[in-house]
């Protein structure tokens, strides 16, 4: 790509972004602090003032532990700026676990909704509130209308939404919506941890994070690690997520042989 063409392209992108923003000020981005990841996202970081979709794999569709951990860590820098609200339908989110990963539970208001529609409307209400920086919602599916409403609520005050796609009580899946207005979609799964050489037990928690869709960015896959997890320094770092490996389009490396299991 020639330099001229590149410049023309970025100018065009800025123009489109301005049109999409409809005259509103850009809420900015939250960089992960890893260039390999940030350069794939529009503006060099997780777009704020938008909502993001986080999906689990396999059984995690019901338990949604890895997506919750990833979303909390991605939003941890936001929770320092304002309040966070977590809307759920099944109250199994446990604050000590969030604290250990580096998310401040004292900034989190938890809301237990009775059904899916209520969860979405509470999310919308919280997103449009002054002083709320991040809103997490555990819902099964977001259709186009609900997604558009969430987006409008995000734009009101620049709050960032995280939709954890979860079927909290199991059951059969609903038909997938044809499209989505989410800014990004992440697929998160636990990845084997690597303890430091000579140490027993488990290493820092790791996740295989796949950026499946991204408006104005490029998809990719990475292994991320919670830095300083389960220590008193948890939450004191600039960003609690650290890039371990860039998977690109390659397959995940095979799991370590069982002989390396710590006793």
């Amino acid at each position: 790509m020639s330099d001229f063409r590149g410049r023309g392209l970025s100018a065009l992108r800025a123009k489109i972004a301005a049109l999409e923003a409809d005259g509103r000020a850009d809420a900015g981005v939250q960089p992960f602090g890893a260039p390999e990841l940030d350069q794939r996202l529009p503006g060099g970081g997780l777009p704020l003032g938008r909502w993001h979709e986080v999906v689990g794999t396999g059984l995690e569709v019901e338990t949604s532990a890895a997506p919750a951990a990833f979303a909390a860590l991605a939003a941890a820098p936001l929770a320092r700026r304002g309040e966070a609200v977590w809307v759920m339908r099944r109250d199994d989110l446990w604050a000590p676990g969030l604290a250990g990963l580096g998310f401040p539970p004292e900034r989190l208001i938890q809301v237990l909704a009775r059904d899916e529609a209520e969860a979405l409307s509470v999310m919308e209400d919280a997103l449009a509130t002054v002083g709320v920086a991040a809103v997490f919602g555990e819902v099964e599916a977001v259709d186009l209308t609900a997604g558009r409403r969430l987006q409008l609520a995000c734009e009101k005050r620049g709050a960032t939404g995280f939709v954890l796609r979860r079927r909290p009580f199991g059951g059969t899946a609903r038909a997938e919506a044809a499209g989505s207005v989410a800014a990004t979609r992440w697929r998160v799964a636990s990845a084997p941890s690597e303890p430091a050489a000579g140490e027993l037990g488990l290493g820092a928690p790791r996740w295989r994070v796949e950026l499946e869709r991204c408006r104005g960015g490029r998809p990719g896959a990475w292994i991320l690690e919670a830095s300083e997890a389960y220590s008193w320094e948890a939450g004191d770092v600039a960003h609690p997520l650290r890039l371990v490996a860039d998977l690109g389009d390659r397959e995940l490396a095979p799991a370590q042989p069982a002989t390396r299991r710590a006793a």
Partner: protein, 502 residues
């Protein structure tokens, strides 16, 4: 000033009960009369008489079962209705109520006017009643039950009016009253004449207390149906209203009235209760709570708005009252000029959000987790109101202990658990029908029961859990524990999954 009301007594003339009627209740397998109508009383029947005797005396007697629960419900409804006169109403089971009319009589133009209005409305409802007004609840009760109906004792003048009443007017137990009468004390003035010490020695402290309470020498605490609050606003309408938009409008008006008072005194309240008084005498209360004490009438009205739909106006609503509870001093704040760029104050965004959610979903569905000093995992995270007054918790979160993000409310049993030695973490386990090979493990972390909280006989060495953090071959991290100890013949150890790290 207290008003006491006792509905027993002479029925008004319009009561169309021509045949004698009595209510019966069964006491120790004997059916006895619980209450008799005036016609039946005139024929010589009285309460506590055996039903068979009464039937023999008056063959045409109509009998019906007494319903104490329904009576209590009716009394509660009457108490709620009386809130239209004063917020402080106390039920006096089984058939009376106290109305504290201190400081509200002027709204009707004096006690006599208030009593007249009260009588008119009660009579219209067809209720037989007797009422009296006096300085103390005891005196009002005595005058209502044994004095002239409708007596209004002048301030400080109740002793004079109490003199000719029988000792039973002191709200004594029937045995105590009978005992006093048996000794020749037929009127209260005789009791009043005795020195206190012998009176207390002879008839007991209860009699002395009741006498003191009636005469105002000692205070009496009434159990009001609603906690008394001086923060009440009331609006009465010329014509009954029933349209939903009218109800929203009057809610806003009455809120504005009360909030203006709150603002003038620099106060705010945490709970507001609006009551719609219907033409047919029912009162329909609605309540909302605020996370921070407030006095913004528009906000309060908005919180009431969705609940107004549940109010059935019936034939119309003739008055509305709004009470404020949990009133506390609230500092004034300048209205924002425009500080969109500055950090938002809690009062602007968060407090209204929490109020909206708590009033819509219920306060138990909105919370903030707080650390609790307990080693038992499921007890170590408590719930607090999202905007509690003290945001700094007593102890910080323990960030060092590895704890899962998802904790199951009930641990899930694990099957086919393979462990090499008793103290080893499992090598393999099955959860929800899927087998997991353990690749790495950490533990055990032994968590014992909180023996200091349980009775000593329930404490056992075997009540321990050994927690392990394990990772399977796919990287999923689990928090599982073994309950019980190996070698305990009564309770063999069992494996459970308690949480997921993700």
């Amino acid at each position: 000033m207290e008003g006491a009301l006792g509905p027993q007594g002479a029925l008004p003339a319009q009561a169309a009960l021509t045949s004698p009627l009595a209510l019966v209740e069964t006491v120790r397998q004997v059916r006895r009369l619980a209450a008799v109508s005036p016609e039946a009383a005139r024929l010589g029947l009285h309460a506590d008489q055996k039903a068979t005797d009464a039937m023999a005396l008056v063959p045409g007697l109509a009998l019906a079962d007494a319903e104490p629960a329904a009576d209590a419900a009716a009394l509660t409804a009457l108490v709620d209705w009386c809130v239209r006169f004063s917020p402080a109403v106390a039920a006096d089971a089984p058939d009376g109520l106290f109305l504290d009319i201190s400081g509200v009589a002027h709204l009707w133009g004096g006690e006599a006017e208030l009593v007249r209005d009260f009588r008119t409305r009660l009579a219209r409802a067809g209720l037989p009643f007797r009422l009296a007004v006096a300085d103390t609840p005891g005196a009002a009760w005595a005058l209502a039950h044994y004095g002239r109906d409708g007596t209004i004792a002048p301030p400080g003048g109740q002793a004079e009016l109490l003199r000719p009443l029988p000792p039973a007017a002191l709200r004594l137990s029937s045995e105590a009253a009978a005992q006093i009468e048996r000794l020749g004390f037929r009127r209260l003035e005789q009791l009043m004449a005795i020195p206190r010490a012998p009176l207390g020695r002879r008839f007991g402290a209860a009699t002395l207390d009741r006498l003191d309470q009636a005469l105002g020498r000692s205070a009496e605490a009434l159990a009001f149906r609603r906690p008394p609050t001086p923060w009440v606003a009331r609006l009465a309408f010329v014509e009954p209203i029933s349209a939903p938009e009218d109800m929203a409008r009057v809610t806003a008006d009455v809120a504005a009235k009360l909030c203006a008072r709150l603002e003038a005194e620099g106060r705010g309240a945490r709970r507001f209760e609006v009551a719609f008084h219907r033409v047919d005498g029912k009162a329909l209360p609605l309540g909302i709570g605020l996370s921070l004490a407030g006095r913004d009438a528009a906000r309060i009205t908005r919180l009431f708005q969705p609940k107004l739909e549940t109010v059935d106006p019936g034939f119309g609503i003739e008055s509305v009252t709004l009470c404020a509870y949990g009133v506390e001093a609230v500092g004034g704040r300048q209205a924002r000029i425009d500080d969109a760029g500055l950090a938002a104050a809690v009062e602007d965004g968060l407090a209204p959000l929490v109020d909206r959610l708590a009033n819509r979903l219920g306060p138990e569905r909105v919370w903030r987790a707080v650390p609790v000093e307990s080693h038992v995992p499921e007890l170590s995270a408590g719930r607090a109101a999202p905007l509690a007054a003290d945001p700094a918790p007593a102890a910080p979160w323990n960030r060092e202990a590895p704890r899962p993000v998802r904790l199951f409310r009930r641990p899930e049993p694990l099957e086919k658990v393979l462990a090499l030695t008793p103290d080893d973490p499992p090598r393999q386990f099955q959860w929800r029908g899927r087998t997991h090979q353990v690749r790495r493990a950490e533990g055990p972390e032994r968590i014992g029961e909180e023996w200091w909280k349980a009775p000593i006989e329930d404490v056992a060495v075997g009540h321990v859990r050994d927690y392990y953090r394990v990772e399977d071959e796919a990287g999923a991290r689990f928090w599982l524990f073994r309950a019980g100890l190996y070698g305990d013949p009564e309770v063999p150890p069992k494996w459970w999954l308690h949480g997921l790290f993700g």
